[in-house]
Symmetry: C2
Subunit: 486 residues, 2 copies
């Protein structure tokens, strides 16, 4: 039997080259059982005419499928589904029936329903996306990233790509972080004191598992990164949410029974406050006095375009009391999912064992790609280009904010990629944000950042890492109008 040429059509939405699409259509037809062993494919000429593409494209696709043993060729008589082609399943899938499992009893731990809000996945379709922490194609050095990834895919790097590191990491990446990244934050660390994680969030999660349980108490900043609060809730520890001021977390507010202090000194999340050196020392002293650990989330320190960043808390730590969390997700792109933990060896040993138990290790190819991107200098070059652009956007932001009479609640003196805003106390920014979506404006309501007992609804965050400069003013004009006539 011959397979009809009409089975084939090119989808306008399809990805990849024409050759790849044809290959894919045929492979899927065989794997799904629509095309059977021995059936004849349309001639390359016929299929090319039918699809309106060049014949060589079809021939190349057929040749590739021949090599993979999906097709066989019988000389001049054409191509057939090969005898060795994969066989589709012979059993028919069962009817869908109702679960008899009582899920409310079977699920012993609930993880849904926390503070972490759902974000719009289609933010790229918005005209005025004041979204935070996403990748801007106009800022990301895609070409060099691609080259580094390609290099990490080479034969020479086969082991780095495919290997089972068990509880270890790519030595090249660890070495680079130890020798170049950390010294720029004033930190010295040996490889045994560094662990690669699936992003900063994963690093924070590892920390909560090792340092906290139902008998312990954590101090967090209020407002703070909501996912951290969800992670702490799952660890069942007691949570003390301490209101931050214009200099970040006030050390004197930390109670004596605190075991772990979570802080974001470079740019407080979300208020963007930078902790001055004096307070950093005071915080370390307070931690020493009450024998508490400090977890320093040093996110976004690279975005310091207004003035140089202060040395990390970790660089001032003489006790081994600070666990440092770094990330590449913000400075490169969030889909990368790569961060790192720095801490004393006994701590990192536990974090390594836990990570190995939960997921073994972050994929080797990604680790190696980042190692190349860093060591070739692309990373620093990208940071500088991005900072320059963010600086320009920040200037436009502040002008437009002032022109439209909006109120800034916090804007990092060192730079950053967002401004923390305040509306009239009578307003609920969640509903304002919703009302702006039909006008293609995306702003982030601030309420989820606050602890439940102290939730304030008139704050919001304006990110400027993904919005084009010329969209800033018109976007803020729409926002200002919505705030005046909510």
């Amino acid at each position: 039997m011959a397979i009809s040429v009409d089975t084939f059509f090119l989808s306008p939405k399809a990805h990849g080259t024409l050759q790849a699409q044809i290959q894919q259509m045929i492979a899927e037809g065989i794997l799904s059982g629509r095309f059977h062993v021995g059936e004849k494919l349309p001639s390359s000429r016929k299929l090319a005419i039918h699809l309106g593409i060049s014949r060589i494209t079809v021939t190349l696709a057929y040749t590739e499928l021949l090599a993979n043993d999906y097709l066989s060729s019988r000389g001049r008589s054409g191509y057939y589904v090969s005898d060795n082609a994969p066989v589709p399943p012979s059993y028919t899938p069962p009817e869908k029936s109702e679960d008899t499992v009582d899920w409310s009893k079977t699920i012993v731990r609930q993880f849904t329903g926390g503070d972490t809000p759902r974000k719009p996945q289609d933010w790229r379709d918005y005209k005025y996306p004041f979204i935070y922490g996403q990748a801007d194609p106009s800022l990301f050095d895609h070409a060099n990233w691609r080259l580094c990834a390609l290099r990490a895919l080479g034969q020479k790097d086969f082991a780095a790509l495919t290997t089972d590191y068990f509880d270890q990491d790519d030595p090249l990446l660890i070495e680079y972080i130890a020798r170049h990244t950390l010294p720029r934050r004033g930190i010295t660390a040996r490889p045994e004191e560094i662990l690669i994680t699936l992003g900063a969030q994963n690093a924070l999660w590892l920390v909560t598992q090792i340092l906290l349980n139902g008998d312990r108490k954590a101090a967090i900043e209020d407002p703070c990164y909501y996912t951290l609060r969800d992670q702490l809730t799952h660890s069942r520890c007691q949570i003390d949410a301490i209101a931050v001021d214009g200099d970040g977390l006030p050390p004197e507010q930390i109670t004596d029974d605190t075991d772990v202090i979570f802080t974001t000194p470079s740019h407080q999340s979300p208020t963007t406050a930078t902790m001055p050196m004096g307070r950093r020392r005071a915080l370390l002293e307070r931690a020493r006095d009450i024998d508490a650990m400090i977890v320093e989330d040093d996110y976004e320190f690279e975005m310091s375009f207004l003035s140089a960043p202060s040395p990390a808390l970790k660089s001032l730590d003489r006790d081994g009391r600070v666990v440092y969390v770094g990330s590449f997700s913000k400075s490169l792109f969030p889909g990368l999912r790569l961060g790192y933990l720095v801490g004393s060896e006994p701590f990192i040993r536990q974090a390594r064992a836990l990570r190995a138990n939960v997921l073994r290790h972050p994929p080797g190819h990604i680790q190696r790609t980042v190692a190349y991107f860093l060591s070739l200098g692309h990373y620093d070059a990208q940071i500088r280009r991005t900072a320059k652009k963010l600086h320009q956007r920040r200037t436009v932001m502040e002008e437009a904010i002032s022109a439209h009479g909006l109120t800034i609640a916090g804007h990092g003196v060192y730079g950053g990629s967002s401004i923390w805003m305040q509306a009239d106390p009578s307003l609920d920014m969640a509903s304002v944000a919703r009302s702006l979506m039909p006008q293609s404006v995306l702003v982030e309501p601030g309420a989820p950042f606050f602890a439940a007992q102290n939730r304030q609804h008139n704050y919001y965050r304006l990110g400027y890492s993904s919005i084009a400069q010329n969209r800033i003013e018109p976007g803020l004009a729409l926002l200002a109008a919505a705030l005046q006539h909510p």
Copy 2:
């Protein structure tokens, strides 16, 4: 000041092109503070002669560094470290001091010290690596993997590469698994019933967190995959290790108070036993009778070169009682770290929330690359090529095992990539394995697979997924000699 040409040298161990190495040396020199703003680089001619390479290579490296603003050019007078080049840190790293933290008190949960053994990272240097579950460069379709990864790195896929999926996955990969992979195991599932994980181990971990706590009881196979036992230990549940027989887990041995049953019906790990259809039905019935969940780890079902695999337990499940764990790590390579969970929607909803909390999502680029590799048919082609090779190696294995009088304890009737072996009960295979390492033979002692109270020391596993066919016989000869004169 000019930078001396003698600062530059090519390392014979360096990775990448000559151009990349030069770029790297200069960028690192600037970032580490060895090269200062305004310093003059050697002329391209001088540096080329010094390194013994072509001048154009040096010029290309300089041009790239110029574009990245590491260097500036002053017309014909040459290249200088740019005024805008990144500045090294100005503070000096502190002296290393002793921790004052009491780690035995500060660490509230220990994760080290489980059953999971350390594996030799340098196994590729062994001549006779009877190792299990690692990538063999001679079997892996590196070229097409590279093409798929490259395609996923293209401009068109920018969003898939960089995007923050939050708690979601790449829709292309989910669709392929739902439409093609699962039907081949007799399973139908909607996208809401599928979650991508960081490998099968991460999938199992998610399951233990949701279904088990200190009040629950899990039944596991004995012997079984040791990391699963470590994961269950951390969940604090009661563990019932049930001895498997030649057909895998005997359902009648599962006690009435069991809440979750972990099983590997395709190839019992590590004995390689395949559970017959009758027992699969009996197991499901037993689970229904005692209202227990079943977690089916369907690893290696693709390696069925001796006869077709049985339908998955999940395909027989009418109750929503089976959680299915699939993986690409074994069939592609372990460094990939990609697997998936299939289960009823209420369960997957919790697993999704937990995964989001712990690590958000597996990196988008990897998900998209696998989606392409699957949909273009490369995956199935690779499976077939691999199965053919494994079949040949298996034949050689069995011949050599028989010729040397070694004793098979279990060998999958459907195929697989390892044989479960038994030595004289007086022997400790851990010490035999150690004694074979200087002879470049790597075998895996079986003791860690057994539960502590029932640990047997005379078993071992022979993997044949990474050993060349002609190395099998000489390797087993060395093993046989060591077993005779331990």
